[in-house]
């Protein structure tokens, strides 16, 4: 068990190094974006003097390296900085400055909520469908499941979203078509309002996971130990679930992790369609007005989500393998 702990700590350390490298890439890339906040906010009336003034106020005139280390130190103390946009409003006599953290936190929690709801539907669905497809491979069921999931993944997300709205909100008003959730909304109502975006995302992510489950299991069916299980007279279902699935877990877990990461980072379109106040929308809006601190913070959160989920997948894969759990 101590070796397992060592592996986990090792991976965690590597994850932190990766995150550090990614932070450099993010910082450089964001600062290479053409145009800057000052120009974007002043628009047509931008005179060189006013641009310089705002740049100085925001510290944009400092060298890149200095700004990077200031930002990095902030990150290390969980100070994500202050949003340019909000800062500006404060200067023009608004209601006090809002930090990036305050701005991101509710959005992130909304996104996590949607991702969780989707995962709760999609993962069991995909794995079950995958197992059934492997069990009844090459039958009509298998082909239908494949075709359905493939067509849902190949259609654009907004298209799937509008189809669902048409059938589940307009023709049969089961769920609301707007998902404008807000703080303090009771859980059941939140859940109801998030249902359509969650279903849309389920359609998008199920195919990958289902097909990987099916392929990983079928890949093992030629193994001698599967033949042995059959020759012990076990039922086909037991052969698949008890003998093939435990050995197919590693690739399945990895695909699930990738899809969960996608649910956190890649759902802008769905958020826009359903007016869901998630982090994706905030991110896109911030890019538009060059609100650099928010963009950087979002990027870093996305990167951390990817790294953390893949790390979890790695660890679970190790734990699912008795060779690594119980060394000789």
């Amino acid at each position: 068990m101590s070796s397992l702990l060592r592996i986990i700590l090792q991976r965690l350390g590597l994850g932190l190094v990766t995150l550090f490298v990614v932070s450099i890439v993010i910082f450089v890339a964001v600062n290479l974006l053409p145009g800057d906040f000052a120009e974007a906010i002043l628009g047509q009336g931008a005179t060189p003097e006013s641009v310089a003034k705002i740049r100085e106020d925001l510290g944009l005139d400092q060298p890149l390296i200095v700004r990077y280390f200031e930002w990095l130190m902030g990150m290390l103390t969980f100070d994500l900085g202050t949003s340019f946009a909000q800062l500006n409003f404060a200067n023009f006599g608004g209601a006090g400055s809002v930090t990036v953290a305050e701005q991101i936190a509710p959005r992130l929690s909304n996104t996590m909520f949607l991702a969780t709801v989707t995962a709760c539907i999609a993962v069991p669905l995909a794995v079950t469908l995958g197992i059934l497809a492997a069990l009844y491979r090459n039958t009509a069921f298998d082909k239908a499941a494949n075709m359905f999931t493939l067509s849902s993944i190949s259609s654009p997300e907004f298209f799937m979203a509008y189809i669902l709205i048409l059938f589940l909100a307009v023709l049969n008003p089961i769920f609301p078509s707007l998902s404008n959730i807000f703080d303090g909304m009771p859980f059941s109502e939140r859940l109801e309002k998030s249902m359509l975006p969650a279903l849309t995302l389920t359609l998008v992510v199920t195919a990958h996971m289902m097909r990987m489950t099916r392929a990983a299991i079928i890949n093992l069916l030629a193994s001698p130990y599967i033949e042995m299980a059959r020759l012990k007279g076990l039922s086909p279902m037991r052969v698949i679930v008890k003998h093939a699935l435990p050995n197919a877990l590693a690739p399945i877990i990895n695909v699930i992790a990738l899809n969960l990461a996608y649910l956190i980072t890649g759902v802008v379109v769905v958020e826009v369609v359903f007016v869901y106040p998630g982090i994706g929308q905030l991110f896109v809006d911030s890019v538009k007005i060059r609100d650099i601190p928010v963009v950087q913070a979002c990027c870093l959160i996305f990167a951390a989500a990817y790294i953390l989920l893949n790390l979890t997948a790695d660890i679970l894969s190790i734990v699912s393998n008795p060779r690594l759990r119980h060394p000789k």
């Binding site: 001698p224 130990y225 042995m228 059959r230 020759l231 012990k232 007279g233 037991r238 050995n247 008795p322």
Partner: protein, 547 residues
């Protein structure tokens, strides 16, 4: 005696390229309760296919096209999947060739053991766990109370094979199919498994079909023997008759293989410089030493056989000689000149001198390259030949390994048989024009007749080219037929070495003796006598441990 299994006119077809080709062309088989039938033949003879068909089971892409299989009055060919499932594991059990691959790596042994009795409703879990432990004890597994609670990767191959026999016994079936259960094991381990299987089959009066390509093994196990050749029955007789008076030429030829013997060459003059000299090698993987102070010489035109069980350090020694694993201490000398320990520091000419032929020709040849490219690569790399000259040299090499160049030059490895692939491996080694070749278990994956062809080819090449061989093997029959000198290894040490004739005449080192006496002989009483001689408690592993 009452009849248990009757197979009549069994025909089986296999699918390839959209057509069904015959694999078994009408075989009859009868088995009474408590009787053991040995099925013997080379690979491709259809032994395993018949064994599985005796359960009414066929692998994907294979079908029973004609004939009947009747088990205790039940027609297995037309039985529903559910009927078969109710028999499998409960009344008919199967023991596979590789226990290591046939145990599910994700579950503990005992959980796999109890699965059949619990699922078939023969017993409950706790009773079946107890019974499992009892069977482990009967099969003389070490720590029978605990071994079942380990995962397959924590248990050795021979122990797994016995655990699988125990698993097959879990429901006390009427019939067990043993599909080459000892082929993958060392001789000393094989004895133990054979003894255990025979004892338990006798005790529970279980009928068995014992599939193997090793005549000496089947002689110990079977009441009667059926010989197969490419899907046809050659002959069947009770064991003693079959061994003493085989009728058919093919059966006689199977017997004859064991008689190939190359005369031992005279010892080299005292002042001769050995081609390869291994001097006091100690080598480690990580921090554990796996070789301890290994020394031996290989002289020009001679064959040194390195024998020992798996894990004894034979292949590690080869890795040290080739420089893949630089030894921690000691040195390798070639023609008296000490070589750099790491292959990366050796010159091209030093690398050229020592070549290797591998056990699994399948994995040692690049499946995407043609034979011409595979052999042409070292011709170009070491000889610097290109174009027409390279082609000419490749053709010459193909001639040397007795394959028609025009036919094989453009083929892919997948289009060759196992023996032909091994010949390509030999040609690739020869392409470098080496003085010395390491043959790592080159015949152990091959049938006896094919293996004999390879051994003869290697012997001829040695005569014409003056090659020296280091022959790594665990098969003492191979040693007898080809070696000039023998090095016996155990636990990374050399326990005995000397000329072959000396090694095969007593007195031996105790371990050499154990190895030699563990090689099955054709005498059907051999195992019984040996067990009596060694004492029941002192077979195989147990005997090794005491040294």
């Amino acid at each position: 005696m009452s009849r248990l299994l009757t197979i009549k006119g069994l025909k089986i077809e296999g699918r390839s390229d959209e057509t069904w080709n015959p694999i078994i062309n009408g075989v009859d088989l009868e088995l009474n309760k408590g009787e053991v039938l040995g099925l013997i033949g080379e690979s491709g003879a259809g032994k395993s296919t018949i064994g599985l068909a005796a359960m009414g089971y066929t692998r994907d892409g294979v079908r029973i096209s004609d004939g009947t299989v009747e088990f205790d009055g039940i027609d297995l060919v037309n039985a529903s999947a559910a009927t078969k499932r109710s028999l499998f594991g409960k009344r008919i059990a199967y023991v596979a060739q590789s226990a290591a691959a046939s145990f599910n790596p994700a579950h503990k042994l005992i959980d796999q053991h109890t699965e059949a009795p619990v699922q078939h409703g023969v017993s409950n879990r706790s009773a079946s766990v107890e019974d499992g432990i009892e069977l482990y004890r009967k099969l003389r597994l070490p720590n029978p109370d605990e071994i079942g609670f380990r995962y397959p990767h924590q248990v050795s191959g021979g122990q797994l094979q016995r655990a699988m026999t125990a698993m097959a016994m879990s429901c006390r079936p009427d019939l067990i199919i043993f599909d080459e259960p000892t082929t993958a094991l060392d001789v000393t381990t094989q004895i133990e498994v054979l003894a255990a299987i025979r004892e338990i089959v006798e005790e529970f009066d279980t009928a068995a079909i014992y599939i193997t390509h090793d005549l000496a093994v089947v002689a110990q196990m079977a009441d009667k023997i059926k010989v197969l050749l490419r899907g046809d029955e050659v002959e069947e007789a009770d064991t003693r008759t079959m061994l003493s008076a085989p009728k058919e030429d093919y059966t006689k030829s199977l017997w004859a293989v064991r008689e190939f013997q190359r005369p031992q060459q005279p010892p080299p003059p005292d002042d001769a410089v050995p081609v390869v000299s291994v001097r006091n090698i100690t080598a480690a993987y990580g921090t554990t030493d796996v070789l301890h102070d290994v020394s031996f010489d290989i002289h020009a035109g001679r064959t040194v056989a390195v024998v020992g069980e798996s894990g004894s350090g034979k292949s590690t020694t080869a890795r040290c000689i080739t420089g893949l694993l630089p030894p921690r201490m000691g040195e390798i000398a070639f023609d008296g000149e000490v070589l750099p320990a790491d292959y990366r520091k050796r010159t091209k000419d030093q690398l050229r001198q020592a070549q290797m032929i591998y056990q699994m020709a399948d994995t040692a040849l690049n499946p995407r390259k043609t034979i011409g490219e595979i052999i042409g690569r070292p011709v170009q790399f070491y000889g610097g030949l290109r174009g027409a000259k390279k082609r000419e040299r490749v053709n010459e090499l193909l001639d040397q390994i007795e394959l028609e160049p025009s036919q094989y030059y453009n083929r892919l490895p997948s289009e060759l048989s196992g023996g032909q692939k091994q010949r390509i491996g030999i040609a690739r080694a020869l392409a470098a024009e080496p003085k010395f070749i390491i043959c790592d278990e080159v015949t152990s994956a091959l049938d006896q007749l094919v293996a004999e062809g390879i051994l003869r080819l290697l012997a001829d090449l040695q005569d014409t080219l003056g090659l020296s061989y280091m022959f790594i093997t665990h098969d003492l029959a191979t040693v007898k037929s080809i070696a000039d000198e023998v090095v016996v290894m155990k636990d990374g040490k050399v326990v005995e070495q000397g000329p072959k004739t000396e090694m095969f005449t007593p007195p031996h080192h105790a371990y050499t003796d154990l190895l030699l006496s563990s090689v099955p002989e054709m005498d059907p009483d051999w195992l019984t006598d040996l067990l009596k001689e060694r004492g029941v408690e002192n077979i195989g592993d147990a005997a090794v441990d005491k040294m």
